[in-house]
């Protein structure tokens, strides 16, 4: 008997951590109790992208979108919507500006402006069921590629599509594949590697793709392998993504079982298999040579790439390394044609790009939009604007290697070259929005601190230079900086960028340089002893003003007993004891604690 309704429970990491799996179990139990088990199917899907409002439940075919669904909401939901057909308004999403909740997913601006290519199956399939993927046209592109196209034609198609590496570098995928095919290999062995070591803090698109649609990556990899003549593939996944790892392993097993992977794929005689390697927490392993070293069982240290990895890569064989999102795009291009793909996007940046929207933005989550959309549309239309109605200050793209983009560049279209010109980069697609509560010097120091501890430490400018940058930035944050420090930062940055061995060091100065370029006044304020955003501890003081009602909350919250005062009387802070943790500021309900 066909199911008349499908409850698509989002089981991405975000929703799972919000107890989506318990929700699923509660739903199944409730349906069984009411004898609806045979009419209504409960499906666990991959990430829907709207992680900020999880757990998410989508009712199909109605297209009703529920958010923040708790186990306790289940009886009401089943009774009202599933039995009586009355969607439950209280669980629907209300966009920031709207008065009324929006019932349909496609009407929510967050989803409405997106265009799903890499995420084409998002929320519509159970990632642990290959049948769901096949039902939505999965592996058709592979069949097409293997039977009707030569490897050369595939490469031509990918070249014509204008697909560029989604990992951040933006190197044209087709050209990479072609170079690999032409590279000399003694025994003809070539490798294909999928980089799923998504280390950029603030980026989680690869995780979502693997969690939500692992087969699209596998299919893309098999097509790529066929195109370059590889028979062994590797995927390198961060250990921080256990769910992604599990789903990918399940998907591999299923694909092998169906003959879509392994020996004699689809009866065409083509052999290809994929081996999974887990990372162990090293950002630098996202760098291609470091990643390959890691797969070989050595420490993830980059090497000079004067000879490219497509020529001498993994185990010194020609190797194609692409990122998860790149591979996920491949089947669509083969299926729908390069022309279709190339019609999307801008002149040099084709197709769509998945971004993870995070930070001080109302709708955090994962979005896929055509290239060329402006940052403003991305942040304000899809992201719903700044959280808590704050004021936009900057957006950081491209992870630690990227830079900050200020308000007057918000109309910049999202495009590899345009972002680069602005001093930032596409990166893997992390978009972190900052408002007036973020101190740009502090955030720049944060990135530098991150890169400092994530540098492999091999070459001088990256190891010593970034450490020096961190020292100077810390000095400025502590209010001990000088004008000379700014010049020193710029000088250091240019040499670090010029002389570092790999891209980690080469792009490390970007956050510092762009923050100086666009927010020089904040640096100057710090040098004069002020942190405008009230973040840098050495430069702020907490005080209690006369709005204090003596509620005593701050007294209880203070970890160092720096707050004095009897209940119902005005409280004061002993500055000597204050460690500026901000606990009092956070708990105060009367705006009585101020930061200066």
């Amino acid at each position: 008997m066909p199911y008349r309704l499908h409850l698509m429970v989002c089981a991405g990491t975000g929703c799972v951590s919000n107890h989506a799996l318990e929700l699923r179990d509660a739903l199944s139990a409730e349906l069984a109790k009411r004898g609806l088990g045979k009419e209504i199917e409960v499906v666990t899907t991959g990430c829907n992208g709207f992680c900020g409002v999880g757990p998410i439940l989508l009712v199909q075919p109605d297209g009703i979108f529920y958010q923040k669904v708790q186990v306790k909401d289940v009886p009401l939901l089943v009774e009202e919507h599933l039995v009586k057909g009355r969607p439950v308004k209280s669980l629907m999403f209300t966009p920031p500006e709207a008065k009324e909740p929006v019932p349909k997913m496609r009407d929510i601006p967050f989803f409405g402006k997106q265009m799903l290519v890499a995420l084409r199956n998002r929320g519509m399939i159970d990632p642990e069921k290959i049948e769901d993927y096949i039902a939505r046209g999965g592996y058709q592109a592979l069949a097409k590629a293997l039977t009707t196209m030569t490897p050369k034609q595939i490469i031509e198609e990918i070249k014509a599509s204008g697909l560029r590496g989604r990992g951040g570098g933006g190197f044209p995928t087709g050209i990479k594949w072609e170079t690999c095919v032409h590279a000399h290999s003694d025994d003809g062995v070539r490798y294909l590697v999928c980089n799923a070591d998504e280390g950029d803090p603030g980026a989680f698109m690869d995780r979502s793709i693997i969690e939500g649609d692992p087969h699209s990556v596998i299919e893309g990899m098999v097509i790529g392998a066929y195109a370059i003549g590889a028979h062994q593939g590797y995927i390198y996944v961060r250990h921080e993504y256990p769910l992604a790892l599990r789903r990918f392993t399940i998907a591999l097993d299923q694909a092998r079982e169906y003959g879509l992977l392994g020996k004699d794929i689809l009866g065409t005689g083509f052999d290809f298999d994929i081996e999974v390697h887990r990372g162990a927490g090293a950002f630098v392993c996202g760098e291609s040579t470091a990643l390959m070293a890691s797969i070989e069982g050595r420490v993830g240290e980059p090497r000079a790439k004067y000879i490219h990895t497509v020529e001498v890569g993994l185990y010194n064989k020609p190797t194609v390394l692409n990122n998860v999102e790149t591979f996920a795009n491949v089947p669509v291009i083969i299926e729908r044609g390069a022309k279709w793909f190339a019609a999307i996007g801008t002149e040099h940046s084709k197709g769509t790009k998945v971004f993870s929207l995070a930070g001080r933005v109302k709708n955090t989550g994962l979005v896929e939009v055509p290239m060329g959309l402006s940052l403003r549309e991305l942040i304000f239309d899809i992201g719903g604007g700044i959280a808590d109605d704050g004021e936009f200050k900057a957006v950081q793209t491209g992870g630690p290697s990227g830079g900050f983009i200020p308000e007057d560049l918000l109309d910049l279209p999202v495009d590899y070259e345009k972002l680069y010109e602005a001093g930032s980069m596409m990166g893997s697609g992390g978009v972190v929005v900052m408002d007036e509560t973020s101190c740009m010097v502090d955030v720049a120091r944060f990135f530098v601190d991150f890169l400092q501890s994530e540098s492999c430490g091999k070459c001088t400018p990256c190891r010593e230079g970034i450490k020096a940058l961190h020292g100077i930035l810390s000095r400025i944050c502590d209010g001990k900086g000088s004008e000379a420090d700014l010049a020193m930062l710029e000088e250091l940055c240019s040499v670090i960028a010029d002389t570092s061995l790999c891209a980690l060091g080469g792009s490390a100065p970007n956050p510092v340089l762009t923050s100086i370029r666009y927010f020089r006044s904040e640096y100057e304020a710090h040098i004069q002893g002020k942190c405008p955003a009230g973040v840098c501890r050495a430069l702020i003081t907490f005080r209690i003003n006369d709005k204090c009602t003596g509620c005593h909350l701050c007294f209880k919250a203070c970890p160092t007993s720096a707050v004095l005062g009897e209940p119902k009387q005005m409280h004061t802070i002993i500055q000597e004891k204050c460690i500026k943790c901000g606990a009092c500021y956070d708990v105060c309900k009367f705006d009585a604690v101020t930061k200066e």
Partner: protein, 167 residues
């Protein structure tokens, strides 16, 4: 909590699981870490012998990757995500609060061996920032004031029951 005795046979079994291939050394170390909650020296020696790779290379791996610890870790590993999104949403203060609450600094383990406090770089749950994980449990939207309650759940009691809302 008692530290498991390192058994050479157990490590050999891990090596066999990965076909003894050098390429899977990181995986083997992951399994050793899971088994013993740290990388014991004896295990490195056994790996070196079984896989045929110098001790130094394995030691470098074990110290290079953030996940590995050469010291026994606590029963509950508290990882405070300090990715960009979490940083912007106050992760440094959450980290401080955890450190204060446990009386240890980052990277240390409480004397009773219950908690280890660690920083982790982005768990990819930026929508839930600030995020703290305790072993495999993910806690989203954590603020300084929620820290004591969060830790209390694990203190002295058996593992907290799932399904309890965090907010």
């Amino acid at each position: 909590m008692a530290i498991k005795q390192v058994s050479e046979e157990k490590v050999r079994e891990i090596v066999r699981r990965w076909g003894g291939r050098e390429g899977f050394l990181v995986e083997m170390l992951q399994d050793v870490q899971t088994e013993y909650r740290y990388i014991p020296e004896a295990a490195i020696r056994t790996l070196s012998k079984e896989v045929g790779v110098p001790v130094g290379q394995i030691y470098h791996l074990a110290t290079f990757f953030k996940r590995f610890s050469l010291k026994p870790r606590g029963e509950y590993v508290i990882s405070v995500c300090t990715g960009t999104a979490c940083h912007v949403k106050g992760a440094p203060r959450v980290l401080d609060a955890c450190a204060r609450e446990l009386g240890i600094s980052v990277g240390e383990t409480t004397k009773d061996g219950t908690f280890t406090l660690e920083e982790v770089r982005c768990l990819g749950c930026c929508g839930l920032a600030a995020v703290v994980t305790v072993n495999d449990d993910i806690h989203g939207h954590v603020t300084t004031s929620k820290v004591p309650r969060l830790l209390k759940r694990y203190k002295g009691t058996e593992k907290a029951s799932h399904g309890e809302a965090d907010d």
